[in-house]
Symmetry: C2
Subunit: 290 residues, 2 copies
């Protein structure tokens, strides 16, 4: 285990509160009186999560949208966000992108902090939501016999990243302005046995869901909707940043939103993941580890 | 107005939600069903808010305690914190300090994020609390005739900073491990007309309270309890980081906690602040502007 992985494990151990489910993966669930809150905090760092030359309007959008995607995976309705902002480049662009994304999702900026320091610029965002269904969906609820589904088509963010990196005329939208599936998450929350967003790649995130649920997930790779040409299908399954919802349903239950059935949950076999019948023995290379 | 000040003003304008009261000063107040939440987010940056050589255990303590102090000023009971952690130096020290401060205040770590990047290291913390009294105290409620009070003695953090900076044998505790006045804040919340924590210096924070409340505050400088020798009294009134509570009470109401009466609120005069009868015409130099 690397030093960083050990640190994260130690933080998890510190987070002994039953509500503590976050730290790099799920959002935290907190019961307050009769309300159930869902809380998430993500940081973006210049040069790590975005390029120094990238539009700060897009960075603001992504900062908010990726946190809202974490709420979507919990079926939560966003109540507001807190911003941690380090002064850097492109303040006006950042403000315009922030205004756009908050307006798009109808989410208020509640407060936060501004600091100097850097480069690199570091940004933080906390999103607070209210659960619309309890128990709140988690990644650990998949059961043998459940069907496995995904919203949307994968690989659009990959194409967007490549267009941005290579300066081609391709559509960068899916990468620079990801969408949080809030309506879908709320519609699915009462039905799913497990749910998460696909932030680090379908295969890696499915691996994590299988591990958390103590099942094996068998994925029909050819059946996964992708937005890329066939030779790049596997790339699309390994690429993150699509922020689609991955979920399981009890057998026979149909999703109330547009989604594609891509596999099923089975009793835990000798590996957590099977792709077109082939066991995936190692999570290395399945997606973006961070 | 500097570019940074203009940015903060723009953020405030964006934060058009009635709950939005934060952004560098107060915590945000958010009503969720029958509950009233208090939310605060602060960032600390290496080289700006702490020295690269400073103990990361102390940095972890300060990161949590300063956010809890914001909750204290609202009379809120902490429910949990979310951590934004950038890998840097002293991970084990950070963990031990974090465990200590969470244990001291009985506050759970709910989740968060870990990232690479830097130096400089940037850290963020979000604290979530539940209001114990509504309306939640704010800095804007002082009325002419109210009495002005402060908890504790000021200047201890200044002495601690100087001992740390100069490497003397002086007690650094008040600077490196500030205490959040949570119990006092909860006891005071039902009684105060205005309350805030003294994070940037008594005079500057009193100026802010006077401005927010549209009153003038007349402070008896000699009556302010200080932890320093007399020649340095004025320094202690300008120095931040003490995290004591500054509050106003209706005339005749006595505080239920240890505190010292240091002045009174008057109808708004030609300046917001009077120190021993002398008008303070300019906030420059009153404390730590950031």
């Amino acid at each position: 285990m690397s030093g960083e992985a050990a640190f994260i494990e130690s933080l998890r151990a510190l987070a002994h509160h039953p509500a503590a489910r976050s730290l790099d993966d799920d959002a935290a669930v907190l019961e307050v009186g009769a309300e159930t809150l869902v809380l998430t905090h993500d940081m973006l760092v210049e040069g790590v999560h975005y390029l120094p030359a990238q539009s700060r309007a897009d960075v603001a959008w992504k900062l908010v949208a990726t946190n809202l995607s974490d709420l979507a995976a919990k079926g939560a309705e966003p109540l507001g966000v807190l911003l941690g902002y380090m002064f850097g480049e492109g303040e006006e662009d950042f403000l315009s992108g922030l205004a756009e994304v908050l307006d798009h999702y109808g989410v208020p900026l509640l407060g936060g902090d501004t600091v100097s320091g850097g480069p690199p610029q570091a940004l933080g965002l906390t999103a607070i939501g209210r659960a619309t269904h309890c128990p709140v969906p988690s990644r650990s609820g998949a059961r043998p016999g459940d069907t496995l589904w995904v919203t949307g088509a994968l690989g659009q963010a990959m194409l967007g990243f490549e267009a941005l990196r290579d300066g081609t005329a391709g559509d960068t939208g899916a990468y620079v302005r990801p969408m949080a599936r809030l309506a879908e998450g709320q519609a699915l929350a009462p039905l799913v046995s497990a749910m998460m967003d696909v932030s680090d790649g379908l295969l890696l995130d499915a691996w994590r869901m299988a591990e958390a649920s103590a099942v094996s997930l068998a994925i029909d790779g050819a059946g996964v909707p992708v937005a890329v040409a066939e030779p790049r299908r596997l790339d699309a399954l390994r690429w993150g940043d699509d922020y689609e919802l991955l979920f399981t349903l009890p057998d026979g239950v149909e999703p109330p939103v547009a989604a594609t059935r891509i596999g099923r949950a089975e009793p835990r076999g000798f590996v957590p993941l099977f792709l077109d019948g082939a066991p995936i023995a190692n999570r290395a290379g399945l997606g973006w580890e961070h």
